[in-house]
Symmetry: C2
Subunit: 224 residues, 2 copies
């Protein structure tokens, strides 16, 4: 990838989606979705069949970094994957069952990830991942030692082929004949918030909650 600010590449599968009403295949939209989520669903091929595994991720301008897992460890070198990040924003309640749907922000990233083996890049990827999921913890917690670093499986997926789909707003049947039915219609929004931190019962009693953890309580999960 030479132009990190340019449009995402248009391949047949993303072009397919680009033509769809809800496709927004530009990099700003992609990063908007990546910032809003922190768990993705990684689709890999295992013995010829798809397997979809949830895992945490982080990212920089060029790569999505993913924690390895049992399923992804069975990845062949150069195997194609699809990583999907979905943030659900609520229900679309229409006049007719047929027009019901959800409001959401979703990104699908395609490519051939590689295992990160270089220690410096692995530390970089783990920092990026940790700071995306749990901001402040890279500074606060004990960093990986050499043995832990070796035991950590990290995947790097280039951010070069992706599609973004979103839906927001009211149902689409407000100007249809169904509007005359007199039914209520609208959105039922959904918001996920961080709660009060729960101390580990194994902690010595007077361990104060660090400010960077305490400050998240009450904040929306999709606004990091």
């Amino acid at each position: 990838m030479t132009d990190v600010d340019g449009p995402l590449s248009a391949t047949p599968r993303t072009r397919l989606r680009r033509m769809k009403e809800k496709g927004r295949p530009d990099r700003a939209a992609l990063f908007h979705v990546l910032r809003a989520g922190f768990v993705c669903h990684l689709g890999v091929l295992v013995d010829g069949a798809p397997m979809v595994v949830p895992t945490v991720y982080g990212f920089d301008e060029r790569h999505l970094y993913l924690h390895g897992s049992v399923a992804s460890r069975s990845l062949r070198a150069d195997a194609e994957v699809c990583v999907t990040v979905t943030v659900v924003d609520g229900l679309v309640l229409a006049r007719s069952v047929f027009e019901h749907g959800i409001n959401y922000r979703s990104a699908m990233i395609y490519g051939r990830p590689r295992w990160v083996t270089d220690d410096d890049e692995k530390l970089h990827g783990l920092r990026v991942l940790t700071e995306h999921v749990a901001p402040g913890q890279w500074e606060y917690a004990r960093l990986p030692n050499r043995k832990e670093l070796a035991a950590t499986a990290l995947l790097a997926l280039p951010l070069t082929e992706a599609s973004v789909k979103t839906r927001s707003g009211p149902p689409d049947d407000g100007d249809s004949p169904d509007a005359a039915l007199g039914h209520w219609a609208g959105e039922l929004p959904l918001v996920a918030r961080w709660q009060e931190p729960v101390p580990d019962p194994a902690l010595p009693a007077p361990t104060p909650t660090p400010a960077h953890v305490a400050a998240r309580a009450g904040a929306r999960v999709d606004q990091t």
Copy 2:
């Protein structure tokens, strides 16, 4: 499937997971996860590569019912899929970066779905799906007419092969040498709640919000 109350079948891939600490391959655990979520990630093979698509679902004792999509419409007959439902319950903040993780409930269902073509089963599947995602709307909204029913793509996936993984509770390094570091450690829970309904601006002013919609405001999304 002849015994809907029996254990899930153990295939090599679910057996693999069964051996893992977090595997809980029984039907009660599966339905516990299915009840808590309403959006799944459907993994299909498209031109030999995995594609992971978010979609809504519902279920009865025997089947998961999924809305069809652009990706799933390209499903070959008898193609294997993997459907994953993940409910994220919070972050696990440990003394060391290495022990960080998430608390979650997740189910992976494998199988070969079929397109529902019988009108009665399609109505049943759509009712089950609608009532899972938006309880009360099947009674309240206009039901699908013949044309809409024909235009609706619905997949039925037998609930016969699945695995369930969950993690809950504090980090695992409370009794490790890292406990002496004096760092705070614990959980940062995450809760998603339905918000106040937002009326469609196209509604005539005095349309009251129906009780079954209004009653959801403030309720946890994972407790339907």
